[in-house]
Symmetry: C2
Subunit: 613 residues, 2 copies
């Protein structure tokens, strides 16, 4: 048996020599997309494996460039493992469903949906039994007729469906309301969708609520980004543009409708069989989606229009699902701690632990959650866009050509890009790695300064030669041969400052929550990293740069898109909804703006940790 480890997930296990990387990945539950079915034809299952594999096969030589082969790129379905190996799976080789889901709902949610289907077989009416169709159905359901609410449209369908099927039918209940009438054994009869509205990305999951099976997933960029990548720009658009709020709302409603069309198309089902949509999003996204003015979220005292869980008719919400369907929005906690955070609290189950746990959802805004064992504290911090590549001179979003991993190799810098393409910039996980690597190599000191020419003389030539410029214009050459403008990817002094501000904000939030709870940050039992981002960053890099408090590496766990998983949980179980409401109520929001210690802690938190002995 040989040992193989997959990164960035860290899945590790033993396989027989001669196993392909794809087979090993399947064995260890690592999702790798193989559109051609693993037959060496499409060349899409690219991974990095610098050692431990047999020589490239003919198919690999045909489908990969010489440069790719030299850089260690392999096709997972062809490359055969012969020795211990470490395999890096670039983000675009991971399966979409797997990427978002299989890493997410690691807590099994018992299926108890609000939408249920009931098959009825009823006696036909006669002069001795003049019960109305509705009474007949109520009796069949065992509900007193006066207590059975029936949607008007469902009532309109009732006579013809009953009489076309010998007084049998499947009725769809949304909560206590009879919402649709279908022929008996119509399949699938009850679909639901969970939607995670991120500032940047919107994801929709389609679920068969009878079986609990996830049928399809679709995601896209949030089209509101045309009015700004950050929340404040979007709020300004709402305030300034005539119909700004309606515009913003329509953009996100249309985007969700497109995703639902895509997901139902993939699954070969009808949108009108979707009876319920559950939604999470930060408070601003939540407000914009519901057509609620977000203006006051951004102005002291940062007051939301509402915090409570909302049930709205799908039609009123503008969703192109069953017209009698329903929308469920998870509750929000505060102006900058939204339903997405409630989703993370819900699915992570942190408040059920015996010992303190920290959870961090990092995006443009960071949300930090601390379960002290007794109290559930939450806060938000403006991490800024640096972690997503924004405000970084060569920063790009995580897409083909983005440097996503950086490491020290043979006294100089090594890197890999998404799609193994020529580099065109550096994305979030690459930024983390770059900062950690530069700290480890001593190229950056703990105050965040790139070594000046004098100090750099002590560095190996492979690093020293990459330092250029002076003072605030000083920069480090990460990659040559780039496909963008001047053919180089550099990381600048200013970039380092942006990263310091961002990580300082998150770390300060962690410190202040722990102080409020009287807990030593390093003493938490586990640190959960939520958000798609949490999947991609290297935990070691996050620790090294001091984003996280100093805990052993194994206590840090990526939990994927936990917010989306929370929306799924709420879709799949009314008990989860009750729990979400209870968590939102229990969560104590700590307002950092009003905290007199914030500035001091923030300044301390910007410092990078010293190198470990």
């Amino acid at each position: 048996m040989i040992r193989v480890q997959f990164k960035p997930g860290g899945q590790t296990g033993q396989v027989w020599p001669g196993t392909t990387i794809l087979a090993a990945a399947e064995q260890l539950g690592v999702p790798i997309s193989a559109p051609c079915g693993g037959r060496g034809r499409c060349g899409r299952c690219r991974v990095f494996a610098e050692r431990g594999c047999a020589e490239p096969t003919q198919a690999e030589r045909d489908l990969l460039t010489g440069e790719e082969l030299r850089n260690g790129v392999r096709l997972a379905c062809e490359a055969v493992l012969v020795e211990d190996s470490q395999v890096i799976v670039p983000s675009d080789s991971r399966t979409v469903g797997g990427k978002i889901l299989s890493e997410d709902v690691w807590q099994d949610v018992a299926l108890a949906p609000n939408v249920t289907g009931r098959v009825l077989e009823l006696p036909a009416p006669s002069l001795d039994d003049q019960r109305s169709d509705a009474e007949r159905v109520a009796d069949g359901l065992g509900v007193p007729p006066g207590e059975l609410q029936i949607d008007r449209r469902a009532l309109a369908e009732l006579p013809s469906v009953l009489r076309a099927n010998g007084f049998s039918a499947t009725v769809v209940m949304v909560g206590d309301v009879l919402t649709a009438v279908r022929p008996p054994n119509a399949e699938p009869c009850c679909l639901g969708a969970a939607v995670d509205i991120g500032t940047t990305t919107v994801v929709a999951y389609l679920v068969d609520l009878v079986t609990g099976e996830r049928l399809a997933t679709a995601s896209d960029l949030n089209p509101q980004a045309r009015y700004g990548h950050d929340l404040i720009s979007r709020i300004e658009h709402v305030q300034r543009a005539p119909n700004g709020l309606d515009d913003m709302r329509q953009l996100i409603v249309d985007a969700i409708n497109r995703l639902l069309a895509e997901a139902t198309g993939k699954a070969g089902v009808r949108r009108r069989d979707i009876y319920e949509v559950s939604v999470v999003g930060n408070t601003c996204m939540h407000h914009l989606f519901l057509g609620l003015d977000p203006t006051h979220l951004a102005q002291s005292p940062y007051v939301p229009v509402t915090k409570q869980a909302m049930v709205v008719s799908a039609e009123d919400a503008g969703l192109a699902v069953n017209r009698a369907g329903s929308l469920y929005c998870l509750p929000v906690i505060a102006g900058f701690v939204g339903a997405d955070t409630v989703g993370v609290l819900l699915i992570s189950r942190i408040a059920e632990r015996d010992r303190p746990v920290l959870a961090i959802d990092i995006g443009t805004n960071g949300e930090v959650m601390l379960w002290s064992g007794e109290r559930l504290l939450v806060t938000s911090c403006a991490a800024g866009p640096a972690f997503e590549g924004g405000e970084i001179s060569r920063g790009v979003r995580a897409a083909e050509g983005a440097i996503e991993r950086v490491w020290l190799r043979d006294g100089t810098i090594g890197y890999s890009t998404i799609g193994a393409a020529r580099p065109n910039g550096i994305c979030g996980s690459g930024i983390f790695d770059a900062v950690a690597t530069l700290l480890d190599a001593g190229v950056v000191d703990s105050t965040g300064r790139l070594l000046d020419a004098d100090a750099a003389r002590g560095l190996p030539e492979g690093l020293a030669s990459r330092l250029r410029g002076e003072a605030s214009d000083r920069e480090f050459l990460v990659a040559e041969n780039a496909s963008n403008g001047d053919g180089e990817i550099t990381f600048t002094q200013r970039d380092l400052r942006e990263v310091q501000l961002a990580k300082g904000a998150v770390r300060a939030a962690v410190e202040l929550l722990c102080a409020e709870a009287g807990i030593e940050p390093g003493a938490v039992e586990e640190v959960l990293l939520a958000g798609a981002f949490g999947n991609y960053i290297d935990r070691r890099s996050a620790l090294r740069m001091g984003l996280l408090p100093p805990v052993p590496l194994e206590r840090i766990r990526s939990v994927g898109n936990a917010a989306g998983a929370g929306a799924l949980a709420a879709l799949m179980s009314v008990e989860e909804r009750a729990r979400a409401v209870e968590l939102a109520d229990r969560a104590e929001h700590i307002e950092l703006m009003g905290n007199p210690d914030f500035q001091v802690v923030f300044a301390d938190s910007m410092i990078f940790p010293e190198a470990q002995a």
Copy 2:
């Protein structure tokens, strides 16, 4: 003092000689329309008074024709009473509001509406009080925030209204749902409308739900009549025409929206301040309005789609009122016993009596209700259109020129027409009078036959000369000088048969309900005549022709549009709604179609009573 009696209402009282008819009418609560304010200018307050008045005034001579003056037509505002008198008020001289309302809601309904307005004065938010706007309002209402349902649109209005008014506002609650937010002291803040959808006529009443004041009334013909005056024709249209159901629904929805526009226009208020609409109608009208297929109402076993009270969003119902408003449809009892009957049961309070009471709502379909003192029995009978002038050779609807009263005068026939115009036909109340008069005069025998030439020799010449034709073509000349075709209004042998069929159906229903309850029909404490029609027919004529069981005249009472009054009661009080549901549950529907005695009782009921000694 002199004595004056108004007909057809029968109001009787003493007034000082010299009182005008209009003043006497006001004194006795008889509604007479006087658009010019009683100043002798418009000539609209025409009444008949053959004796007891002073000579016509100059204004009367100017505004009335010589023929009208000869026929006893007077202007109520000008004619001065000098001796005992009997005044006939034609239907078009009665005030509309009065006609429909003042005679209706004779039971005071305590105001307890589902729609309420609450004025709130709230503290402004601060960093120490970051409650959401919704929480702030919930606290102001004294409701736990998690339990306060707020409509999405109301929530969208909330931040701006609160901040524009120093955190004061009026909130409109529809049931437990906060439905709108208005500036404090907005008036009127909560309007409601009650609608009675008749097969022929639709009436809408506009009410201020804060004060209980009725602001306006509007009525119009039901535009569905273009597809047939009776229910069966309309159901056939639904079955045959593509989109027949949608057409029918849209027609009535549009008609109601026009009436609401008219009523709000009259009252100078906004339609969007109407938050709730209550509706009654027979089961077919109820189904068509809600878009429910009425097909099975008309086919054995006559099963409605639903019987229960319905709450539907006003938007889904298509009503042009506040978009977050609500529709309440009273429950129905059976395929031909609808929400209109529930309205009659509700407002008449018959089921609270100690002794048996009969209520009859006569229209194209008749509904008969019997409270036995213990049981509440209801049934319907196909009275057919004869009572509304349909299927009668010279029958017309009650409009200008229709003969509405017939009596014996000086050994021959006398009559009056609506508007004192030249006669163009005979309407329902005239048909009743004609039959009763012909029976009294012995022109018709108890089997319903017009006397043949031989037998007619015993009649006074003034009657005998009016009988013409033979056998089934025999007819009686009611009026000459008619404005229609051949200048004559006749009442034929065939017309008599139609009346017999109609009155036989109603009387048979009365007999069978009484038999079911073990009650002697003549022993009921009161007979209530509901429906606008009940206002216009002469009670004595109804008794004389045997439509009603033999009870003393004073036990018969017209209760006006009780169905519409029931809709008003349900609009004005949630307790009335609970009572309506309870009455619909308690009512036992007796299906005459399945009753083996029906044909025999029906045949007996067609016979006219013998003349009283």
